[in-house]
């Protein structure tokens, strides 16, 4: 709860610390050849009043008043109206962007998590040449910022080789529809941003899993299982199960990094998700969209962390038992 309150407060304050405000951006766009200074000033004030940044007497609204107005409307579930895309509502902007972000993030996080853990466990178990190649590769992938890898992939596969489209969510000569051609186009445009997300995520997860698995492989129960002649595959599964629990905690921490990275990937690939909408809003100082976008990201991140905490409790008997003993 404290995290949430701090997040939405910062979310409100940070965009307003700039030298400019959204009306400056709007006025840059609406200027016309014949406009006079007098008319410019009149329009400027009209926009300021319209967006609650000034009252009808020409007095600027204080930041405290704006904050309480923002909290009040947010608590009612009203995300407001975009300033720079007026009269479009913030929800209208985000509801078109959100599915694209989910479509990019959920599969890549899930697949990256599963593959990363399997590959990490295998590296720990097999060792040898497999580990010697895989370990530095994973370290490299883990260390590369999402947007850097994205730019490299765009340059190689999108611009130089022209194998995959370098930007967009679907082909330029299409509109969304329930057709095979559209789905194929969406998938085709999905490959590069998805690969960027997955590769970096695999790197991070694999390194963690490798370390945990090496630790687990040295434990008594593994040695005992080996002595009993239990199948190698079964032992690996035991190792994975035990090493997974700290990895699950690690996932909670990695999610923030992954979601932040996905937002940047959307900008690199001009992928039409929340990241791109937020980027545009930040450039335009569109306070309501910035606030709502970050609010959605914050809430979903907190919710996912909460779910992971519950999952750890359910999956790890040690946590469950310690909780039960405290209750007693």
């Amino acid at each position: 709860m404290v995290t949430f309150v701090v997040a939405i407060s910062l979310n409100f304050i940070l965009p307003r610390l700039g030298h400019s405000n959204p009306v400056d951006t709007i006025m840059r766009k609406v200027h016309t050849p014949g406009m006079t200074s007098k008319e410019y000033k009149k329009r400027y004030e009209e926009f300021m009043v319209k967006f609650g940044l000034m009252d009808e007497n020409g007095k600027k609204t204080t930041i405290v008043r704006q904050f309480f107005s923002y909290v009040g409307t947010t608590l009612k579930g009203d995300l407001g109206v975009s300033f720079t895309k007026y009269p479009k509502s913030v929800w209208d902007i985000l509801k078109t962007a959100l599915p694209w972000s989910l479509w990019l993030q959920i599969p890549s996080i899930v697949i990256g998590y599963i593959l990363g853990n399997i590959l990490g466990a295998l590296a720990a178990y097999k060792r040898g040449i497999y580990d010697k190649v895989f370990y530095p590769l994973s370290l490299f992938l883990m260390s590369v910022p999402y947007f850097c890898l994205g730019i490299v992939l765009v340059y190689i596969f999108g611009i130089s080789l022209e194998i995959f489209p370098p930007s967009g969510g679907y082909a330029m000569d299409m509109m969304p529809s329930f057709s095979f051609a559209f789905f194929a186009s969406v998938l085709y445009h999905y490959i590069l941003p998805f690969m960027t997300m997955v590769l970096v995520f695999i790197g991070g997860q694999a390194i963690g899993m490798r370390s945990m698995s090496i630790y687990e492989l040295g434990t008594d129960y593994v040695k005992y299982a080996k002595m009993l002649g239990i199948k190698e595959r079964t032992i690996v599964m035991y190792v994975i199960r035990n090493a997974m629990l700290p990895q699950l905690t690690g996932l909670a921490l990695a999610l923030g990094f992954a979601i932040g990275g996905a937002l940047l990937i959307e900008i690199v690939f001009s992928y039409p998700g929340v990241g791109l909408a937020l980027y545009t809003a930040i450039l335009e100082m569109d306070y309501p969209v910035i606030q709502a976008g970050i609010l959605i990201v914050t809430v979903s991140l907190l919710a996912m962390n909460f779910i992971i905490d519950i999952l750890i409790g359910l999956l790890d008997p040690r946590v469950r038992i310690s909780h039960e003993s405290r209750v007693e």
Binding site: G18, H19, S20, D24, T25, I26, M27, R28, K29, V30, H31, P33, G34, M35, T36, S37, E39, Y40, K41, R43, Y44, E46, T84, K85, Y86, P87, K88, I93, K95, T96, A97, P99, W100, L102, W103, I106, P107, E162, S167, G168, G169, M172, D173, M174, M175, P176, S177, F178, S179, F182, F183, I267, S270, P272, L276, Y279, T280, L283, E284, M285
Partner: protein, 594 residues
């Protein structure tokens, strides 16, 4: 296992369905996969998701803007090559002492088949005059507009503000809207305001309601295309096969059946798409365009300068501040800037060499340019001369090689600003900073967000900045360029907004010449006044021109379409096939497809 597979694929399917469901405003049954050989894709016209297709809106989305004539049309379109107005809804116009009479094309019709008449034109201008639209200020140049027949309108000019140049610009940009569609809307808005405000109907309140009308559901229009569909990623217009104006093109229809305006988030994304042939026409700044020629990209000229010069990017100094208020200082810094380096490095040679003055010595303005005046009064890159001028004006150099003013005080550190990310301007700013530092000015470049730069520019909150005082061409150039650079009609001290003459220059002689020029009729007098204005400009240097730039960076890809207008095949001006007289290009390009 099958169940697991099903559950695993479910989120993917849901996401795709959501994307499809939320991502578009298209109607059922319409085409969503546009045949490439019938579709023209254009980059650089739309930069953010559409919010309004209402041509009366303060910020309508292309193609409803005043320079795009696809859906709604004005009476005339400007041709940047000839400098003339070409008929669209109008056929001819005639000025008298206090009137402007425009004859409309008798064939002009709306898409529902009804005739487009003087009633629609009178109603359109009536709305602009009544309400605070983008053309509201321009309507001060006429007192009234009346129909003088079903296909004739008469503007009663404001004799206190007589300006035939602006009047011609207005009839070349005001999109005519159908009275039958907008009158009921206006009446409904008036009634709503009266109900809300207890009988009072303030025009600003009424216009706020009219302004909110999105006009995105099959709007009635007269142009060769109509709005077909749109999403947050693109806008599509579809050819109207029975367009009345096809008769002006021998009965043929425009070649592209669909025109798509994708919304790119960066210049680079659009530039890559152009190189790959996914975009057919672009107006973005493309660095080193010549490197893309081998990929089938073309420009107006095959060789340098590739584009037609139409505007001038300038260095502005805030003239109420010292030392910029000193004309000697301005003359000196103008000699310190390496213009050729800017031309070659900042804009890759996309313009001819800069000549002194505020008149572009090419195209329609060439006839007003006087070479001997340029030699006599103009400046050129000469750091030695810059130092001489400064020395003669009483400036000295300190031990640190920085300038000390005539009053004995060291000149303060100043900043040269320009919008962040405008790479050609940033590069030019760096070059001018290097030049100014070389003669002792303590100046540094500072790149700021566009909105901040714009706010500071209008409020006079800058030392040195980059700006184009006029960023388009029209029938009123070069007068309008002089007016916006030297006209002190709205002069206000720094801190208050100035919309023209943002560097705050004041000269009564220039003001009187600017008022006189639009009223003149004979070419000799016009040339003389332009000459006087240009001499005054070169002597006072209210701004320092840095480089010519094209009105449009007109670039095309030959992958899907051919026969784009070029300097070798100039059947249409390089106005991107949708602006002004350039629209006739749509009837002449050819698909390469099937």
């Amino acid at each position: 296992m099958d169940k697991i597979k099903y559950i695993a694929t479910l989120p993917f399917v849901c996401a795709v369905l959501l994307v499809v469901g939320c991502g578009t405003a298209n109607r059922s049954g319409e085409i969503t996969d546009f045949p490439r050989d019938k579709t023209l894709i254009m980059a650089g016209f739309v930069w953010s998701p559409p919010t309004s297709f209402n041509p009366l809106n303060e910020d309508p989305t292309c193609p409803m803007t005043g320079d795009c004539f696809l859906v709604y049309e004005p009476m005339f379109g400007y041709n940047m090559l000839t400098g003339e107005m070409e008929g669209i809804l109008g056929t001819s116009y005639l000025f008298s002492k206090d009137t402007l009479i425009v004859q409309l094309n008798e064939r002009a019709a709306w898409h529902d088949g009804s005739m487009l008449t003087s009633e629609d034109v009178v109603y359109t201008f009536g709305l602009h005059k009544k309400y605070n639209t983008n053309l509201h200020s321009d309507c001060d140049y006429f007192d009234d507009i009346k129909a003088c027949g079903p296909h004739c309108v008469k503007f009663l000019l404001n004799t206190k503000k007589l300006n035939p140049l602006i009047m011609q610009e207005i009839i070349g940009t005001a999109l005519i809207i159908p009275k039958k569609a907008f009158y009921p809307l206006e009446q409904r808005c008036i009634a709503e305001v009266k109900t809300e405000k207890k009988g009072k109907a303030d025009p600003d309140d009424i216009f706020e309601k009219i302004n909110a009308f999105k006009n995105d559901s099959m709007p009635l229009s007269s142009g060769p295309y109509s709005l077909y569909t749109y999403s947050d990623q693109k806008i599509v217009v579809k050819r109207f096969d029975s367009y009345w104006g096809n008769v002006l093109h021998g009965g043929a229809m425009p070649k592209p059946e669909y025109i798509i305006f994708p919304i790119f988030k960066s210049n680079e994304a659009g530039n890559v798409a152009l190189s790959q042939g996914n975009v057919d026409l672009s107006v973005n700044f493309v660095p080193q365009i010549y490197n893309r020629f081998k990929k089938g990209v073309g420009t107006w000229y095959k060789d340098k300068p590739y584009f037609v010069p139409g505007t001038i990017a300038c260095m502005l100094m805030e003239l109420t501040k010292k030392p910029f208020s000193d004309v000697h200082f301005r003359q000196a810094v103008a000699h310190a800037v390496n213009y050729e380096q800017i031309r070659k490095l900042s804009i890759y040679g996309y313009a001819p060499p800069l000549k002194p003055g505020l008149i572009i010595p090419f195209g329609p303005e060439k006839k007003y340019y006087n070479d001997s005046d340029a030699v006599r009064y103009g400046v050129s890159y000469d750091p030695g001369k810059a130092r001489e001028i400064l020395k003669a004006a009483g400036y000295k150099w300190g031990d640190d090689s920085l300038l000390i003013g005539p009053d004995g005080n060291k000149l303060e550190t100043v900043y040269a600003t320009c919008p962040n990310g405008w790479t050609d301007w940033e590069s030019a700013a760096r070059i001018l900073v290097t030049g100014l530092r070389a003669v002792g000015v303590d100046v540094h470049e500072k790149f700021v967000e566009e909105a901040i730069w714009w706010k500071d520019l209008l409020n006079g909150n800058f030392d040195i900045t980059m700006y184009q005082t006029l960023d388009y061409e029209s029938i009123a150039t070069p007068w309008e360029r002089f007016y916006k650079t030297m006209g002190s009609f709205e002069w206000a001290p720094p801190g208050e907004v100035m919309y023209i003459d943002v560097q705050r220059y004041k000269n009564p002689v220039a003001d009187s010449l600017l008022l006189l020029l639009p009223t003149l009729k004979d070419e000799k007098s016009i040339s003389e006044v332009y000459r006087s204005l240009n001499i005054k400009f070169m002597q006072d240097l209210p701004v320092v021109p840095l480089m010519y730039r094209p009105w449009f960076f007109y670039e095309f890809s030959k992958k899907h379409w051919s026969n784009f207008p070029t300097a070798d095949n100039p059947y249409s001006p390089p106005q991107c096939l949708i602006v002004g007289a350039g629209i006739k290009g749509l009837w002449n390009i050819n698909p390469l497809g099937k």
